[in-house]
Symmetry: C2
């Protein structure tokens, strides 16, 4: 099976899992459930679910376990997008090529959609029919740490506080390590932890891989923000510059950002040496993250 076939298979399974783990829109409160499904289904690159599945191959995790972990991670990711897009945060009207939740519905609904998606992620991880209690506890621990004030939400706070400031490159990296890196790292770790308990050495190698992929993802995001149009991105292009947000491109320039992305891709590949050919999907995902055009 080549990478494209593997990826299409995973994406189809993830979409079905998200369908299943979200309350249906015939259940009360219907409008909230409809808005949760609008936010989550039928869009997005699903980078975190792909990382979960690629890492899960290393520890023989079952398809069901990887689907639960993928659904949980994607629900956390989408909740953060819904809240970030709200007027009191980035105030954005377009996401994944569609009106954002507060534009399509209203602000109160967007707030509750995000809140409820976060809870639903932890519902998915404690599905007794899918994961043993050890894995349930381990995956919840990873996801809760990665989402909170020392991870994603904390990075978002630093991001907001940095508008209009001149950040140093280390400061920018710290912000991204928390804001997007923590959840990407959690995706890789949760994929591995969903199977047979991985060795400490393997987890360390996966952390190094995830750290490099996480930063590469952000560097490429910053490059695309200035080189690509809104229609291709599915979100408002050029917004960081307009909002006075520091980016890799604004700090080190476009050429150096491209060089950095290529270098991080190499670091990600090197970290996988421990696994030999068994980590092929993870290596291919590092390539996908760096070579993507949207």
């Amino acid at each position: 099976m080549n990478f494209d076939e593997w990826m299409r298979g995973v994406l189809a399974r993830v979409e079905t899992a998200l369908e299943r783990y979200l309350p249906d829109d015939e259940t009360e409160p219907k409008r909230l459930h409809e808005a949760m499904r609008y936010a989550v289904l039928g869009g997005g690159k699903r980078v975190r679910p792909l990382l979960v599945h690629a890492a899960g191959e290393l520890t023989g995790a079952t398809a069901q376990a990887l689907e639960a972990a993928s659904a949980a991670l994607e629900m956390i990711h989408v909740y953060s997008l819904v809240h970030d897009d709200m007027p009191c945060m980035d105030d954005d009207a377009l996401r994944r090529g569609k009106p954002t939740v507060h534009v399509k519905y209203d602000e109160a609904t967007a707030l509750l959609v995000g809140d409820a998606l976060q809870s639903q992620a932890f519902v998915a991880l404690t599905d007794e029919a899918v994961l043993d209690v050890r894995a349930q506890a381990a995956l919840v621990r990873e996801l809760a740490h990665a989402s909170g004030s020392l991870g994603m939400a904390g990075g978002q706070a630093i991001d907001l506080a940095s508008v209009g400031l001149t950040l140093s490159r280390p400061q920018l990296e710290t912000m991204h390590r928390m804001k997007t890196g923590a959840l990407l790292r959690a995706a890789v770790r949760m994929g591995a932890l969903a199977g047979a308990s991985p060795e400490a050495e393997a987890l360390r190698a996966l952390d190094t891989y995830a750290e490099a992929v996480g930063l590469a993802f952000q560097v490429v995001d910053d490059i695309l923000d200035v080189t690509t149009d809104s229609a291709t991105l599915g979100k408002t292009a050029g917004k960081d510059a307009k909002d006075g947000k520091p980016t890799y491109v604004s700090i080190i320039g476009l050429d150096a950002s491209r060089t950095l992305a290529a270098q991080l891709r190499h670091e990600a590949h090197d970290a996988l040496a421990l696994f030999g050919g068994r980590a092929q999907r993870l290596a291919e995902l590092a390539d996908l993250v760096v070579n993507r055009v949207s």
Copy 2:
């Protein structure tokens, strides 16, 4: 030990546990952590932690386990207050006698405080040093279900949608069962589940108790909203009527609401018969909920 002494002991331990489970405000991002601590510490009736501790006595749960469960429940409760107070929801300026988080800080910070408190609740429940993996998984499952779109967040959505409408009493009850009842019920169940696995019959009795206490809590809230001043309540009095929100008082009147509260207290007591004298604290808490003046 009489009830007051027991309660003071629990409240002191819960405050220390919350201190410990919240990131300190010297850790970056400092402003976010300061705001999280402002929202959580030094205020509130701590009804959910008291229920956790009273129920935990029935199954011999350790003090540490009950502290973790209490901290998690209180963090979820406070996150919901912080988000509910925001301008796009109830737009309230006063909570627990202090300016609300978006007034004291700003809206974006209030949004992130709530988001991060939800994550932090699940961090507390997966503290490996305190709970075994079975209890971690069980408590996360209870809390995630109670918080989400079929519980607290869903009840909030129904509450918002009901402004200006005439609800029937069953509709009002459904809303409150989700909005506040689900988390109160989770408090009782999580206290019990933090110890030796309770029998199904005991859990059913606790559910009946919690359901009655949860409704009584809301009926008394509605009574106090029209009979007490803002200074005593620590929040804006008379707000439900002003906002056109349906309440027990507006639907069945003040006298019938008082009769209903007394009746629910009896139902709560009756549900505890199974436990004999061992459920004394739960019985006393039902009295506290109905007899409170703020």
